[in-house]
């Protein structure tokens, strides 16, 4: 490290994005300084107590395959885990786990403290110091200045954060935690636009005050299901059920009768846009008035706490109304509310300000990740964090940024969606956003990303060797499946001469039916079965990817002046100037670009003395 720097990489924020960013940079060899308001609140789970879920679970697997931490953290602290979508197909199967919240945060802090190149400082960053377009340092509210060539901002909802509950409102990043007001102004001073988004959290209640006998239980998996390829399958503690109840007309009436006290409706205080996939109970009652009931999910928040999360019940109505509403739920007649729900409104910077490396276009060396970019969700934050951390480190090392393709990972879909389309509500990952999802599976995240993770120095050698062994076993088992005959062990009256692969192609044949013939253990046999069952679909998808790849590889020069290209439609000129897509493929995905615009652009680019073609991420 040069004498002029306090660290190679500074990470501002200690949430899921900040922690993955810091660990990635440090593991890639950079001295990394994490600056956070309260070092005792690293990686809290301020909203729902769960990690994973549809599409999010795949993100966690990808983070793990690259060498990130989220998967191992949840494996060490889960109190309920199960597969979602098992019957709907291997391409959409995903893990979701409930976490012991306190344990999760503790585990994250332990990992951070154990990482030799990570240093933690307490402070509120108020200013970014930029010289000649390059980031130089950050300055804290108390006047301390920390210098580094790469700075990662992962400030979550703290930027200009304001919370609302009924008539009550205060400036805060989270309930009881001070927001970052100066930083928001400072970013605007550097020319970054900001916009308001909104999210919310439901009330927490005391487990002891609930009558679970009238609720329907969701049982956890009887066998351990690790997120991480690197975790030993075992339960970290007792596994607990979750519960589901339903709202009734009594609940809805309370909501309607008190809408005039809602900061969202009657009071009209909140202007930020909330996520459609995570509506408040007010929204549900108003917008889906014809639904007689809505589901409410009752989820434990830990082994050593009675605090219980009331999912699906996010609200910013006044606390007294919240309590009344809770009492209308079955089993909640004697409920003790530990903490009321609230809404939070915060600033985000439109992610179209970013390169796909998450470096900002305005300030070199400055990286943004997490909710600051307009996303929501722990997994989305962590995925951006690891990418920002990797590229912050690569910049320090003088290397090209690592880029992720839509066809290779959900991380790639996330990045491409953010930087080419921007957001108009808090962005959540959904399987339907991934057009190549049959390729982006829970089971094959390691095949897709572990070689990259190792090549850039993030995934340790011993983990990579494990991966290589796993891959070899998979390949030889696959080869065996194509030649080995069922023989005497043929299941369901299938002929003995049939190959294992041919049998597996039949939907009714499961991997367990042929595991013996295959001579493969449980997780391996299942992977073989998935590969074979999906073969045709995967091939069709790969053909589509190949077809589209030419446009993805045609890079658009940074200095292209779209406004001067008269053949482009006005809308295309405006959008291209605003979003500055990296490739022709990215340009074609910007809403409003017509095929003619793309064709014109392709002609222009090639006129510019031959298009540049991107190379795969350098090893």
């Amino acid at each position: 490290m040069s004498r002029n720097s306090d660290a190679a990489v500074i990470v501002v924020g200690g949430g899921h994005a900040g922690v993955e960013a810091a660990l990635a940079a440090a593991r890639m060899g950079c001295e990394t300084l994490v600056i956070t308001g309260d070092p005792d609140r690293i990686c809290t789970l301020p909203c729902n107590p769960s990690i994973g879920g549809s599409a999010k679970g795949q993100l966690v697997r990808e983070i793990d395959a690259l060498g990130g931490e989220m998967g191992r953290l949840i494996d060490r602290t889960e109190l309920h885990v199960r597969f979602l979508n098992e019957s709907k197909g291997p391409s959409v199967r995903a893990l979701r786990a409930q976490a012991d919240k306190a344990g999760y945060a503790r585990a994250a802090l332990d990992v951070l403290l154990a990482e030799p190149r990570v240093h933690i400082a307490s402070g509120f960053v108020e200013r970014i110091i930029v010289e000649h377009g390059d980031v130089r340092a950050v300055a804290c509210a108390d006047g301390r200045v920390f210098r580094a060539p790469s700075v990662v901002l992962a400030t979550g909802t703290f930027l200009g954060g304001r919370i609302y509950r009924g008539e009550f409102s205060e400036s805060a990043g989270r309930l009881g935690e001070a927001p970052a007001l100066g930083l928001a102004d400072d970013l605007r001073g550097h020319g970054f636009p900001t916009a308001r988004l909104k999210t919310g959290t439901p009330p927490r209640v005391d487990r002891k005050s609930l009558d679970f006998s009238v609720m329907s239980a969701q049982e956890p998996s009887p066998v351990p299901l690790p997120f991480s390829y690197r975790s030993v399958p075992c339960f970290p503690g007792p596994q607990l059920p979750c519960y589901i109840v339903q709202t009734s007309e009594a609940t809805h009436k309370l909501v309607r009768d008190n809408l005039h006290r809602s900061p969202l409706y009657g009071l009209d205080l909140i202007r930020g846009i909330g996520p459609r996939y995570c509506p408040s109970i007010e929204d549900k009652v108003v917008k889906f008035a014809h639904n007689p009931t809505h589901l409410v999910f009752v989820e434990p928040e830990g082994w050593e706490t009675d605090s219980t999360y009331v999912g699906g019940f996010s609200t910013s109505l006044p606390a007294d109304v919240q309590l009344e509403m809770l009492r209308t739920l079955p089993g909640f007649e004697a409920v003790q509310m530990l903490r009321p729900g609230y809404a939070v409104e915060y600033d985000h910077v439109p992610p179209t300000e970013l390169w796909p490396s998450f470096e900002t276009r305005r300030v070199a060396g400055l990286f943004f990740c997490g909710q600051l970019n307009g996303t929501s969700g722990y997994e989305e934050a962590a995925a951006q964090g690891i990418v920002a951390g990797i590229n912050a480190a690569r910049r320090v090392q003088g290397r090209e940024p690592v880029l992720f393709a839509r066809s290779e990972s959900y991380i790639g879909v996330l990045i491409d969606d953010l930087v080419t389309k921007g957001v108009d509500e808090p962005y959540r990952m959904l399987t339907s956003r991934a057009e190549h999802r049959v390729l982006l599976r829970h089971d094959n995240a390691d095949l897709r990303l572990s070689p990259l993770g190792h090549a850039i120095g993030l995934l340790p050698d011993e983990d990579f060797e494990d991966f290589v062994g796993r891959r070899e076993r998979l390949e030889s088992a696959l080869a065996r499946a194509r030649t080995a005959r069922l023989g005497d062990a043929a299941p369901n009256g299938l002929p003995a001469w049939m190959t294992v692969a041919a049998a597996l192609r039949r939907p009714e044949v499961a991997h367990t039916d042929v595991a013996q013939t295959l001579g493969a253990e449980e997780p391996l046999a299942e992977r073989v079965a998935i590969e074979i069952k999906l073969e045709g679909y995967v091939q069709r998808q790969r053909d589509a990817v190949d077809h589209a790849s030419r446009n993805e590889k045609t890079l658009l020069p940074d200095d292209l002046r779209y406004n001067e290209i008269s053949a482009l439609s006005r809308e295309a000129r405006d959008k291209l100037t605003r979003y500055r897509p990296r490739s022709l493929g990215a340009a074609s995905r910007i809403p409003g670009m017509s095929p003619a615009d793309v064709a014109v652009l392709s002609v222009i680019v090639h006129r510019k003395g031959g298009a540049r073609h991107s190379e795969p991420a350098p090893a």
């Binding site: 549809s54 599409a55 979602l84 979508n85 019957s87 709907k88 197909g89 291997p90 391409s91 959409v92 996520p275 459609r276 996939y277 995570c278 509506p279 549900k284 917008k287 889906f288 639904n291 809505h294 589901l295 409410v296 999910f297 999912g311 699906g312 019940f313 996010s314 959904l430 399987t431 339907s432 956003r433 057009e435 999802r437 049959v438 939907p507 009714e508 069952k533 999906l534 679909y537 069709r540 998808q541 190949d546 077809h547 790849s549 030419r550 290209i565 008269s566 053949a567 809403p591 017509s594 095929p595 003619a596 615009d597 064709a599 014109v600 392709s602 002609v603 222009i604 090639h606 006129r607």
Partner: protein, 460 residues
């Protein structure tokens, strides 16, 4: 990796010659597939031979020219096929080239490739860009105009049915606790209904083409069977409306005959023109000449037409020529007319079992002639009447889009019927949805999510 594009390079309509051009790495391969000649194709040497269809049957006689990269108009390997300038021929040739591995070129695509290959002046870049834009916009306008009626509504309805299925799938996958998974048998029914409608649309393309281009009818028969008389009788009072399209083909004459809602293009081998000596001879040539060339000519005419109109003299025993021509048309769409019933019916009565489809009559009897016409019409159109107001696909690319949509739905149905998990249908259904989107000019991706959130109350 670049693909190979193809299109008819000459202006639409009838000219003496049509050029079908293919450009791209597969051009040479395509040449070997669709063109047969005695001499091997050499670069930049015009070679005569036959253009073949996908089954290897001859479509037309013509010239092939091969230009190898980079010495070609696009800088890629280019194949040019020069064939007779009838729309039917050039369409068949293009179909064959597409079947051999090319895809239909988009608007301005040849020009664009030419430019990219540096075959055009750099200063022309903006002009090229303008051209592409103009072509695209006018194509889009034209498409919108064509789609403004019932077709657009039909396509939108089918799209919204597919979209509903995709939404339900996506919502049940992304919010499994809240939205139940669609039930496979019901899904299957819904998709099946969509597929039937797509089938009907694909058939409508055939109707649209019939209305616009007419159906090809080859009028064949031994000398003196009464081909010319039949043609004259068929044309009857419409004679004045008939345009004689001399020169459209080299050895036959085309007459246009109205069959009510569709038009037949009758390729008349009766009036053979001898161009070799420069003089036109409209009278049938001598019997000896026909023995040698009659069958070959009938065959050539039959290759260009969909329907065979075979005329046989019923009043005398079957001649060798007549027998050969009957044999040639057996098993294909034909009207077999035993003429001269007023003189006798020996040949008709002695006809073989396989010629049961024949009809007996006389060109001098109006009812018999009307019967021949009705038979032609019912073969061309089938039992349905063509309702011009019903949605019809007007262009090949529209049919491509419908067929791609159909393929997607059909694969999704296969997946469901095999009992595979429902999500495996999403890829194919999305493809189908997008293909239909091309047809109505709508982009799909964003609309889907909006729709999901308006239909389902989800989230916790």
């Amino acid at each position: 990796m670049s693909d190979t594009i193809a299109a008819v390079a000459t202006p639409p309509g009838r000219g003496a010659i049509a050029i079908v051009r293919a450009s791209g790495p597969a051009a040479r391969f395509i040449a070997n597939r669709v063109f047969s000649s005695r001499r091997k194709l050499r670069e930049r040497v015009a070679t005569t031979g036959h253009v073949l269809d996908a089954s290897g049957a001859r479509i037309d006689q013509g010239l092939a020219l091969l230009f190898l990269a980079p010495r070609s108009v696009t800088g890629e390997d280019v194949l040019e096929l020069h064939v007779h300038g009838s729309p039917a021929v050039s369409r068949e040739v293009l179909t064959s080239v597409l079947a051999a591995g090319a895809r239909l070129a988009g608007p301005g695509e040849f020009t664009r490739r030419a430019f990219l290959a540096g075959k055009m002046d750099l200063s022309a870049a903006e002009a090229v860009a303008d051209l592409i834009e103009a072509e695209h916009r006018s194509a889009a306008r034209a498409a919108a105009a064509r789609l403004s009626g019932g077709l657009a509504k039909t396509v939108e309805r089918l799209r919204s049915q597919l979209s509903a299925v995709l939404e339900e799938l996506a919502a049940s996958i992304d919010f499994p606790d809240e939205v139940p998974s669609p039930d496979p048998p019901t899904l299957e029914q819904r998709l099946h209904a969509v597929m039937q409608e797509l089938d009907a649309l694909a058939r409508s393309r055939e109707h649209g083409r019939l209305v616009r281009e007419g159906v090809g009818v080859a009028l064949v028969g031994a000398p003196n069977a009464g081909k010319s008389s039949l043609l004259n009788a068929l044309l009857g009072s419409e004679r004045a409306l008939v345009s004689e399209l001399a020169g459209t083909t080299r050895d036959t004459l085309e007459e246009t005959l109205s069959l009510g809602d569709v038009v037949a293009r009758v390729i008349d081998t009766a009036g053979i023109r001898h161009v070799s000596d420069g003089a036109s001879v409209v009278e049938p040539p001598s019997h000896a000449l026909l023995e040698a060339a009659g069958i070959a000519r009938a065959r050539a005419a039959l290759e260009q037409a969909r329907i065979a109109l075979v005329v046989v003299d019923a009043s005398v025993p079957l001649s060798r020529d007549a027998d050969a021509i009957i044999a040639e048309t057996r098993g294909r769409e034909r009207v077999l007319f035993y003429n001269k019933a007023d003189l006798g019916r020996i040949a008709y009565d002695a006809r073989a079992e396989s010629e049961r489809d024949a009809c007996l009559g006389s060109v001098f009897c109006d009812e018999d002639v009307a019967d021949v016409k009705e038979r032609l019409r019912s073969i061309a159109v089938g039992s349905e009447t063509i309702d011009v107001a019903r949605p019809m696909l007007a262009a090949g690319w529209q049919l491509d889009a419908v067929l791609e949509g159909r393929r997607g739905v059909s694969r999704a149905l296969d997946t469901l019927r095999a009992g595979a998990p429902v999500d495996l249908t999403s890829g194919d259904l999305t493809t189908a949805f997008q293909a239909l989107g091309m047809l109505s000019g709508r982009d799909a991706s964003e609309a889907l999510l909006d729709s999901i959130f308006s239909r389902f109350c989800i989230g916790k």
